[in-house]
Symmetry: C3
């Protein structure tokens, strides 16, 4: 693991060859090999990031997000686990939080918001999209809310 | 007040029990009790944040934003006070800047842009929305631009 | 040049009177005089920023972005150079990356995503827009995707 300046990594398992840039805040995550993580990225606990993936600067990966191998996450991508926030504060439990699965080889453009959905294998989400529904495998989506615009 | 690493807080009044995480930049703000502020949050001067509110990571709270009690602000929420920027640079005065009021118990999802409006009591703004008009009390809005989708 | 706390500036040329705030990450950029750069801004190499421009907090200026003079970039504006990411990882070459030109006096509101386009002289992009096509000079656009809404 190679880390930049002022980066915080605690309680995490980080694979060989992974690079984490500056001003990151990572806790309780399981991150594979040869992953690249840009600056100002926060990754919460109960997350997985597969080998060879890229998480670009300013992104937020919340608890219960499972990212496959060779995935590309653009800049300032916000994942969501609580669709009725703040449920933990209201109920004292995290049981309402939902999982997100971003499958192998998926690409998510910059500036997207990703609700707790499954984004399929090889699928592509256009930059600036708001993803509120599952994306099938090998499918391109874009827009707010994101709609299918073609196949990969 | 409990602060994380590399956080800057100046000229601010911070209530008991408030937690501020890492890499924050807060100046000239009046922040209540038991507030939680995530990492990478900038809060400008001439702002108020009420007791028990949450400001999530990567958000920007600009001057003239007044946030009530028990409000939830998601991640990467950008507030706006200047609808014809950069008016201060152009005119030498901040007189064109407008106020935003986010009322008690309001919820603003991640990735929203909030123009200088009033967001009503108990109201909910869906993640990824661009809020260009006032939101009545007890109302759900979503989209770009945000439209009313129901009552709370 | 005046820099804030914890800011990283390497291999860059910075003009007189330019102010860079906290937690920035700037490398290989040519930045003019009297520029203001907010906190949490990343500016990559092969970029130009003209005199008297403002780059607001949380924004990302990627390689091959050329910003003119007296330009205003709002908060959390994400520029894009790769419309089929991650092309560098896939091909080993940056030849698929495209240029963005943001012309003199242009204004880009907060929360925008800007594809590799030309944004014309004096033109204005509304906050929260996704700019996928060139914007003519003296033109206002807004929306996702951004459409022409008037003249300046």
């Amino acid at each position: 693991m190679k880390t930049g300046k002022n980066t915080i990594v605690i309680d995490s398992k980080i694979g060989d060859g992974t690079q984490i840039w500056h001003f990151c805040n990572i806790y309780g995550s399981k991150i594979g090999r040869n992953v690249k993580i840009g600056s100002y990225v926060e990754i919460q606990n109960k997350t997985n990031i597969g080998d060879d993936s890229i998480i670009s600067s300013h992104s937020f990966i919340c608890s219960l997000v499972d990212i496959g191998k060779n995935v590309f996450i653009g800049h300032s991508v916000m994942t969501v686990n609580d669709i009725n926030p703040p449920s933990f504060k209201r109920t004292g439990s995290k049981s309402e939080w939902k999982e997100t699965k971003i499958c192998d080889n998926a690409v998510i453009g910059s500036g997207c918001v990703v609700f707790p959905v499954r984004i399929g294998i090889n699928s592509v989400v256009g930059a600036g999209s708001v993803v509120t529904e599952d994306v099938p495998d090998n499918t391109k989506v874009a827009g707010s809310p994101a709609k299918i615009i073609g196949k990969v």
